[in-house]
Subunit: 190 residues, 2 copies
Amino acid sequence: MYPQLLAHIKRYVALTPQEEQLLCDKIELQKFRKKEFLLEPGKLCKGNYFVLTGLVRQYHITNKLAEQIVQFGLESWWIADQESLVNHQPSNYYIQAIEASEILLLTESNRIILSKEVPVLESYFRVMMQKSFVAMFRRVNFMLNLTDEERYNFFAKSYPEFMQRVPQYMLASYLGFTPQFLSRIRAKKA
Amino acid sequence: MYPQLLAHIKRYVALTPQEEQLLCDKIELQKFRKKEFLLEPGKLCKGNYFVLTGLVRQYHITNKLAEQIVQFGLESWWIADQESLVNHQPSNYYIQAIEASEILLLTESNRIILSKEVPVLESYFRVMMQKSFVAMFRRVNFMLNLTDEERYNFFAKSYPEFMQRVPQYMLASYLGFTPQFLSRIRAKKA
C-alpha cells in the first residue's frame, strides 16, 4: 500500500478499503538514480508518475541546442507528458531525476482498467488535469504580463524551499532567462 | 436536444439515448449579443460554456490598464474560468462575446449532478481538461522558444479561418505583442 498516494487522492475523492487495494495493486514502485531518465524523446510516455521522494524535471532540447525545462515534479506531484498520453504519440521530452527519486508509475493501460473498477478515479484525474491547466494558464499570464524580475520574485516567494533544491541553471531555464541574468537578480537581493 | 454538443461528446465517449436526454435536460441555451459578457471579474464562473455559434474571448485588465486576451472560444469549443471553478473563487476575468453568439451553459452544480447520473461525462471532461492543458503547455513552449514572428507564422498557418474573424488588435493581445508589431509582420507578408 502507498499511504502517501492514497492520502493525496483522498483529499479529492473517497475510496473504500477495497478500492485502495485495487489501486495499489496496479501501481509500480520505481527507483531512479540521480540523472536517470523516466522518459526520453521518441518513446511513448508510459503513464502518470507520482513522486514519493526526490525531484524530477521535464525538458526538451531547443533548436539552439539548449535545455528548456518546462515542468518540475516534487514530492506528491504527478508528472507525465500529457501530449504523448492523450495523442498516443512518441514524446518530444526528457523526464529526468534531478535527485535520487522513488516514484510510483500508473501506466496508461492500468489507469484505463482502474477507471472502470474505481470510477471515482476519473473524477480525481479530472481535477488533477484541471489544476495542472490552471497552473499552466497562470504561467502564460506571468510570461505575458510580468517582467523577468517580477517573475523571479513571485517564484522565490511562492516556492522558497524549492529554490534551495534546484540548481540555479535549471531555475533560469524554467523561468526563461539566462543564468547570467539570474545571478544579477540574486546579487541585487543579497 | 443539442446535436452539435452530443456529436462532440461522442467523439470521446459513448452515450445511450437516455443519457443524451439527461444531459440535454441539464443544459441551458443562452444567447449573447456582440460585446455582451458571459463572465465579469468579481463574479463566480457559473460553469462551462460550449460555443454553438459565434466567438468569445477571455481577457483581463493588466496593471498597465491594457486588455490581455488569454483564450478564445470558437464553435464547438468549451470555455470557462477553470481557476474560479476549481477553487470556488471569484473570477479575475471577463468572458465576452466578440460576435453575436449562441452558447450552451452547463452549470457547475448541474455538472456535478450529471457526473453521478452519466459517469462517462467525467471521462469526457478529463480528456477536455487534458487537451486544454496540452494546448496551454504548447503555448508556454512557443513563448519560451519562438520569436514573435515565428509565433505569428505558426498561428497564421494553424488557424487561417480564425485569423480572418478576429480583430487584429485582439490577435496582437493574445500573441503578446503590440498592434504596431503585428502590422509590420503583416505588411512584410503582403
